[in-house]
Amino acid sequence: MMRGSLGAAAGLAGTAALVGGESQDGSGRPAPAGEADRAYREQGEYEPGGGPHSHDSSGTVGDVDTSQFDPMKFLEEFDYGQVSTLPDGRTLREYAVVALDKEIEIAPGVYFPAWTYNGQVPGPTFRATAGDLMRVNFSNAGSHPHTIHFHGVHPAGMDGVFEIVEPGESFVYEFEAAPWGCHLYHCHTLPLKRHVHKGLYGAFIVDPPEGRPPAREMVMVMNGFSTEFNGENTFYAVNTVAFHHAKPEYHIKVKAGELQRIYLVNLTEFDLINSFHLHAEMFRLYRTGTSMETFELTDTVMLCQGERAVLEFQYDTPGLYMFHAHQAEFAELGWMGFFEVMEE
């Protein structure tokens, strides 16, 4: 095809009328988020411009089945394990983890044949305090061999690299939670790329013994899915579901003046990096969360695969604030959401 003279094109096309006006959705599918957004605007809550350039005409159509996996719940859900005290006075935390093959919904109506820890992607957010003894009872009910490789400090035999757990078998990982910070875990079976991309990963938070300052805490695992398995991600998100927190009913509600803390982990496969950008506010960036003294004040952070950070910020003025990957491509393929800041 050849690029023609556009002047002539415009002349020829100049009088064309609209085709059919607004299309009616006769499909019986859930109402697109755009409509919900419009209704929301009509309540006078916020008023960005409408039309095709506004953010309510982009995004996904419909909703995921949150009874299967609820990103809103996952956001603030931490697995502290079964807690008991050891004879030496230390805290023992026992976790049950099962590897399962499961089809998950990664965008409304789009299903992905995942490999999961406990039937969800990301896997549960394990949380312990530095010095606690972690005992992770892992059994493999999937169709492929798997392991759990924790980041952090532990003996070689607990690293989840050499002790491949075949389907039907199990393994107990036991190590002291250390050092405190924001960590992660993932399967380390070969082919590695496939095992990670299929969904075997999650966040692992180790709290300092004295704790962190009180805050509203969230975990955000940046991930992506290549639905055609061609090494190119079709969807991006935090916590799996593309554009979930961009929909008005799933905006993340935030109290003005309250300290917000995000445990941010990058487990995006195929793309070298991912990033987090906060609108209209700056956050304190604690890289890997391993220090509370050293931080950087910024509104954008870039993380390599496996890198993570703790972010702290607060909003003082009510309104809608966007957050997203600062790779526009990732943002437009699902990695975007809103904080909805409300009066205290």
Binding site: M1, R3, G4, P52, A107, V110, T227, E228, L333
Partner: protein, 405 residues
């Protein structure tokens, strides 16, 4: 031996119940075999956890003031659900009419409120429930015409300019051809053979091009073959029945002339499709080159109609009437083509029309060579005639060069 033949003859004469039983038995057995295969067949071992084979074909992308429209057909064996849509790698809202769930051979029109940029390419991708991606790129975005009066008038004018006028101009060679000796008339008929051969091959080429865009279930290449063979058969059968009824050489020649006109007409329909589609897809320069090129090209098509008429001399009454009618049959489909190409481009119909045109053209080539070839000097392989064929091909090639933009 004799007994066997007798037996066969007796059997051939009988139309008892056995006749029907033997006629239908293989069909009944086949139905039984298929049912058995579907129920307990060896295909069972292949039924692993594979996702179903999904196959969507985007037939057309068009641009409106509200956004982007997409016409899609499910040409695969399984039902397909369009779960999400991206434009240029950005997830976007869409509505599907009548439904985003497409059964086999179902069609849907998607409306995407995307702020497209004039003159730039846009890639639309449909993502199925299983994450399979079907993509098509619109090379140059431009507001698509809607069937209003102004556009109809514009496209009609284009069609007249490309099809009708050049063909009628070519027919003006008729008096010149009438005054030629048999030897030179054969030369011009051979020239016509060359022209038509080129057009026929050209039509097959374009038909195959469109066939590549046809949904797999609609079997584009098979459509090309079917269209050509059916057109060849249809024109031949009409020709033969006319001969039987009329028994006159004059009537037969007239049939030949109209066959040529129909063949060229279908070919010109294809040209119209190309022009309409080019203007619609924003390729104005391409569209303009197509108009100029096709106009030059089509003038020689008038010659192709006039030459056989000249061959049969003045034995036909109302000659001017026939010339005009044949000219219109050959030229006017270009108008229809521009409409179809401009407003409702469909790869299926484009494939079929062009294939029918090709079949009709090849049939006509065969007819002309038979008409010429009754005497040795009338053979297309006689030196002068062979030169004529070659020249015809070269002229078409030359005017075709005008089309390369």
């Amino acid at each position: 031996m004799a007994g066997e033949i007798e037996a066969l003859e007796r059997t051939a004469g009988g139309r008892g119940p056995l006749f029907w039983i033997f006629g239908l038995l293989p069909l009944v057995l086949l139905a039984g075999l298929l049912a058995l295969f579907a129920k307990v067949g060896p295909a069972g071992i292949f039924e692993a956890a594979f996702p179903p084979i999904e196959e969507l074909t985007i037939e057309r992308i068009y641009f409106t003031e509200d956004g982007i429209g997409v016409e899609v057909v499910n040409g695969g064996p399984e039902e397909v659900t369009i779960a999400q849509v991206t434009v240029d790698e950005a997830l976007w809202q869409f509505t599907a009419e009548p439904d985003a769930v497409l059964g086999r051979l179902d069609r849907a029109t998607l409306s995407i409120p995307y702020p497209w940029s004039e003159g730039e390419p846009h890639a639309v991708a449909l993502i199925s429930a299983n994450g399979v991606i079907f993509e098509k790129v619109a090379e140059v975005a431009a507001l698509s015409p809607v069937p209003d009066g102004r556009y109809f008038a514009t496209f009609t004018l284009l069609g007249v300019y490309v099809g009708v006028i050049p063909v009628l101009m070519g027919l003006l060679w008729y008096p010149f051809l009438r005054r030629l000796t048999d030897r030179w008339l054969n030369f011009f008929l051979s020239f016509t053979v060359g022209l038509l051969l080129f057009l026929g091959v050209d039509a097959v080429d374009e038909s195959l091009d469109f066939a590549g865009e046809v949904a797999p279930a609609l079997q584009g290449v098979a459509l090309v073959a079917a269209g050509m063979v059916l057109a060849f058969l249809a024109v031949s059968a009409v020709d033969r029945s006319r001969k039987v009824v009329a028994g006159a050489a004059g009537a037969s020649t007239l049939v030949l002339v109209y066959s040529i006109a129909v063949g060229i007409g279908l070919h010109n329909l294809g040209e119209g499709l190309a022009i309409g589609a080019a203007y619609t897809s924003g390729s104005i320069a391409l569209g303009t080159m197509l108009v100029v090129g096709f106009a030059a090209h089509n003038t020689t098509e008038g010659l192709a109609i006039a030459a056989p008429l000249a061959r049969m001399g003045g034995r036909v009454s109302g000659l001017v009437k026939h010339l005009l009618a044949a000219g219109l049959i050959a030229g006017a489909p270009a108008i229809l083509g521009t409409w179809l190409g401009g407003f409702a481009f469909s790869p299926v119909w484009s494939t079929l029309f062009l294939a029918i045109g090709a079949g009709a053209i090849f049939q006509v080539v065969w007819q002309i060579t038979r008409m010429m070839g009754r005497k040795p000097e009338g053979s297309v392989f006689a030196m002068l005639n062979a030169v004529g064929v070659a020249l015809g091909i070269l002229v078409m090639y030359g005017t075709g060069l005008l089309l390369v933009s």
